[in-house]
Symmetry: D2
Subunit: 150 residues, 4 copies
């Protein structure tokens, strides 16, 4: 993977993606959610989830639900950045391994698409803390189904 080494231009740039998502998926892509696109390219993206106290769970760590959502959205953004505006693409399966409990900090999601097919797109995401040098917090793969073209 690691397509960053040979970055290809995305089908939709970061600003354009952010703008469209805020219009058509405002439930998640709003100023309060703390979710932001740091960078996109053909085949991947970097997302950031700002720390929010409401994401905590017992043990003073960030909930798994928050981490899963971040990973799922990372594959969605990488897909849109690669095949263009297909907002009705939906997750068909997702698998996540939680590796280490994060602290009260922002999270970063590094996503690479490992398959870009006509019907299915598969992405891999490593989630880590925005500060510090410890190992990854979680690793996720998920598959999106692209609606048939009319």
């Amino acid at each position: 993977m690691h397509m960053e080494d040979m970055v290809k231009a995305p089908a939709l740039a970061t600003d354009e993606l952010t703008r469209r998502l805020s219009v058509e998926f405002p439930e998640v892509w709003n100023a309060d959610s703390g979710l932001a696109i740091d960078k996109v390219w053909w085949g991947g993206c970097h997302l950031r989830q700002a720390f929010r106290a409401q994401s905590l769970r017992p043990g003073a760590t960030i909930s798994g639900a928050t981490i899963m959502a971040l990973g799922d959205y990372a594959v969605y953004v990488a897909l849109l950045a690669s095949i263009g505006w297909e907002p009705l693409a939906v997750t068909t399966s997702l698998n996540i391994n939680f590796l280490r409990k994060p602290g009260r900090v922002d999270l970063l999601a590094d996503c690479d698409l490992i398959k870009v097919g006509r019907r299915l797109v598969v992405g891999e995401v490593t989630i880590r803390e925005a500060v510090g040098e410890d190992g990854p917090v979680a690793h996720l793969t998920s598959t999106y189904s692209i609606p048939p073209q009319p």
Copy 2:
């Protein structure tokens, strides 16, 4: 599975679990989240997620993140109902298959634990719409790690 056929008493009853979660995990277990425990028993539970407009995603369906969170919490509640109050149990892995897009309705999660070990608990969850007779919306399995006892 289908332990309901021979229901065993839970280690913690529904009211007690709801009360403790609202105190120690208020970020999720609050009146606004729409999440509620319908029933618990040794080895499983029924959860309900009330429909909320903020859970929508493009296509007028409920976001995968909402569905995953519901499934993850179902295994957490079934675990607490079975082994007792271990709020620091954490998800180590989770896998979900999305089967059908739900409409704008409440969701129900039916959880059965398929392993209750000393270190790991594995649960299986079927998520369906609270109304209607269509097939399941999603199927999820996840594993929780129980903290070592001192």
Copy 3:
């Protein structure tokens, strides 16, 4: 799940499926493999894997690879029994949780399809020992992609 309660006739019966598989997939469906179809219906099947010493791994238990293969084939057989002879259907993803180490005995796979779509079929499999009353050995879900029809 548990469609056995209202069994529908399969598209291909057990004998016919066994015959076709032995002709077109002889690498696995041969007398030496120990794999056999016990029963099929629309939406599911029962497979059996006879114990073979060559399936052992350290700890005097059956290898995970043997158990995964059995589960994968169970979904394949259930798919063929349900949508008819589509031997080029391929697994797109598979997830398995190993719950308990089996002994030196035959294994049974109980498969129910939880989605039968035009493009994707999703199955759930519980694997258990053919003798004894202990809990399941493994639980698996997998998704098959059906080739587009010409």
Copy 4:
């Protein structure tokens, strides 16, 4: 991941691992299986599965069962190379995405461990054809449980 960039010495070298596996896990690690360790280091390994006609499935491609077994053994070998001889470590969960149908060629598995804990080890494996420059055939993650130390 990509720990190869800063390779640490393994706890057990390739020759020693190959020798021990052939003695204690001869069902898989024998001359006929076509499975071989190309390289190990602390935190990962490279395995090779020689092409064998008996691994074919309909569509003139290699069976998913063969690919899953290769990935599972890659994490096992990487674990042994990293924490030392713990042959009773067992897979607790495994997830695989199949990305592309391989041809009649050898397969390579590149494994990196993404968590090496006291109780759990998590590995990530990319499987590709030994010849050609096409994308990966499959991507797998799996978790092994390490037996408690006496």
